[in-house]
């Protein structure tokens, strides 16, 4: 396969100036979205995803309610303006439904659903911009949103896309690279190293698979550090804000007692 742009030049740089194993810039925004129990906006380079989590709450679909655990409901919407060629996808689009079921399958073994019988956890994923690695961004954003909503999780889930050019493996592909290279998305739980999702939509040589798989797993633990730092910072911010308020009222009560 020959491409018009050079995927990896002789100096070992990719089309956007990264090295082979370099990840793109990441930003995590965990501030509150109105009405949602937890939400997160995450950006991997130019790919941007917003996830809102509602619940656990009373299951609205009676027929699907499970008496021993919560059900997870994932809905994905892809903004028409998120890609280069503007196009509107229907909500019932098969590809989007499959995407949603992949996210659901990734989180079902991670969320402790048995703690919330007869309830439902709604995960709404909005893809705002796409430039490769949409699935990894969706999974990472969902992890942060769930943690933000206080939903019990066994561990973080960190996903990274890996691809191979000629014989050179690469991480965190852009659209440009994804179109030309065989690639695989791997989601890991860093504490135990368990893998909750492997998704491959292109053909990849068996001999290359192991290396990419291992690399993506390692990149997952790098990502984990960043995500954990984001969650910690968020938690600390809220605790500090609450702490300052708490102290005031305690002092006030003491003062009132002195008066009497």
């Amino acid at each position: 396969m020959s491409s018009r742009i050079e995927i990896l030049n002789d100096g070992g740089y990719r089309s956007d100036g990264r090295r082979q194993y370099e990840l793109r810039d990441m930003t995590f925004d965990m501030s509150e979205q109105a009405g949602a129990d937890g939400s997160a906006i995450i950006a991997h380079g130019l790919t941007q995803v917003l996830v809102s989590v509602f619940g656990p709450r009373e299951a609205k679909m009676r027929s699907q309610t499970l008496h021993d655990r919560a059900i997870i409901n994932v809905e994905v919407s892809i903004a028409p303006f998120s890609t280069g060629d503007r196009r509107k996808r229907a909500r019932g689009d098969k590809r989007i439904l499959e995407f949603a079921s992949m996210i659901k399958a990734t989180f079902e073994p991670v969320v402790q659903t048995s703690l919330h019988p007869r309830s439902q956890i709604d995960i709404f994923v909005h893809v705002l911009q796409q430039d490769g690695g949409v699935l990894q961004a969706c999974i990472n954003a969902t992890t942060l949103a769930l943690a933000n909503a206080g939903v019990p999780l066994l561990d973080f889930v960190c996903a990274v896309t890996g691809g191979v050019h000629a014989a050179a493996p690469m991480l965190d592909l852009t659209t440009l690279e994804e179109n030309d290279l065989p690639h695989v998305t791997v989601a890991v739980m860093p504490r135990t190293g368990r893998v909750t999702l492997v998704s491959m939509e292109t053909r990849l040589h068996v001999d290359r698979f192991e290396e990419i798989f291992r690399l993506a797993g390692q990149a997952g633990s790098v990502l984990h550090k960043e995500m954990r730092a984001a969650v910690r910072e968020r938690t600390k911010g809220v605790v500090d804000a609450m702490g300052s308020g708490l102290r005031t009222s305690d002092f006030a009560e003491d003062a009132m007692m002195d008066d009497t």
């Binding site: 009373e58 804000a241 609450m242 308020g245 708490l246």
Partner: protein, 287 residues
């Protein structure tokens, strides 16, 4: 275990944790809420503050749904009318249940329930109605059962609802509170707060002017413009404090209200960022 991993708990800073972080060995400690055991280790499952009582380790999540306890005062909204019971949304993980047998019916506390009561349940509470109630008990699946068997509880009217994260409402001596400007507050422990027109002392429950017929009324009383403004001002203050994660207590609310009056800020201008920052700074710095 040689070293106590919680030695630093006594210090001023809270110990924070994230899902998947190992806290301690499960042989020396017991796992509480927000944790699970894996490979003889106690591991956190939510992001929040680590708390320890003797050998029990729990993690309290900061932003989460309301965890009900018996005796809590909650505010809820009717979502469904079912045979002999109402379903109530109370910001919990499942809808709460209000049994027909645990409400006061008009015509005296001691009145017997009749079959006709079952047929006209919508005369008491309809879908969408707001009510204040107390958590009475739990069902086996963790759903809570409410009761309104006190004249203080029942249908809400003459006011406005504000929703805040439940962790910001702490248990107080009384969750009914009157601000001096003719505004009554009910701080539900589930994070629902009812701000309404003040009920005169003579018309309070048990007093002469108490209108028992109005308990299930759907009609608002006349509310004058000044009271309406005061109600909106209080709701906006609560919204601001909630977005800045300031725990709501009667003291804080009163201070914030006085500040807003002193500064002569227009009600709608309160929500502007610089004004709300100034308000929070004033409230947290004062006293």
């Amino acid at each position: 275990m040689d070293v106590d991993p919680f030695d630093d708990l006594g210090s001023e800073t809270f110990r924070l944790t994230c899902p998947g972080e190992t806290l301690t060995s499960s042989q020396a400690f017991m796992r509480g809420h927000g944790t699970y055991v894996d490979n003889e280790e106690v591991v956190a499952s939510v992001a929040g503050i680590i708390e320890r009582v003797n050998k029990l380790v729990t993690v309290r999540a900061l932003r989460t749904r309301y965890n009900p306890e018996v005796g809590d005062l909650v505010i809820g909204r009717i979502t469904e009318v079912q045979p002999r019971r109402w379903k109530v949304d109370a910001n919990s993980r499942q809808d709460a249940v209000l049994m027909l047998s645990s409400v006061n019916l008009p015509g005296g506390v001691q009145r017997r329930k009749l079959e006709s009561d079952e047929l006209q349940m919508r005369n008491f509470f309809e879908e969408g109605d707001l009510l204040v109630a107390e958590v009475q008990a739990f069902f086996s699946d963790g759903a809570m059962s409410l009761h309104t068997r006190s004249l203080k509880y029942g249908k809400l009217r003459n006011g406005q609802l504000v929703t805040v994260p439940p962790i910001l409402v702490r248990r107080l001596k009384s969750h009914f509170y009157s601000l001096p400007s003719g505004v009554d507050l009910i701080l539900g422990l589930n994070g629902y707060i009812w701000v309404s027109k003040h009920v005169k002392d003579s018309e309070q429950e048990g007093e002469e002017g108490f209108d028992a017929e109005a308990v299930y009324s759907n009609q608002n009383d006349d509310i004058d413009a000044a009271t309406r403004t005061a109600i909106s001002r209080v709701t906006n203050i609560i919204r601001i404090l909630a977005t800045h994660s300031v725990p709501l207590t009667d003291v804080v609310l009163l201070e914030a209200y006085e500040w807003a009056i002193e500064q002569e800020v227009d009600v709608k201008d309160l929500l502007q960022e610089d004004v709300s920052d100034a308000l929070v700074a004033a409230v947290t710095a004062r006293s």
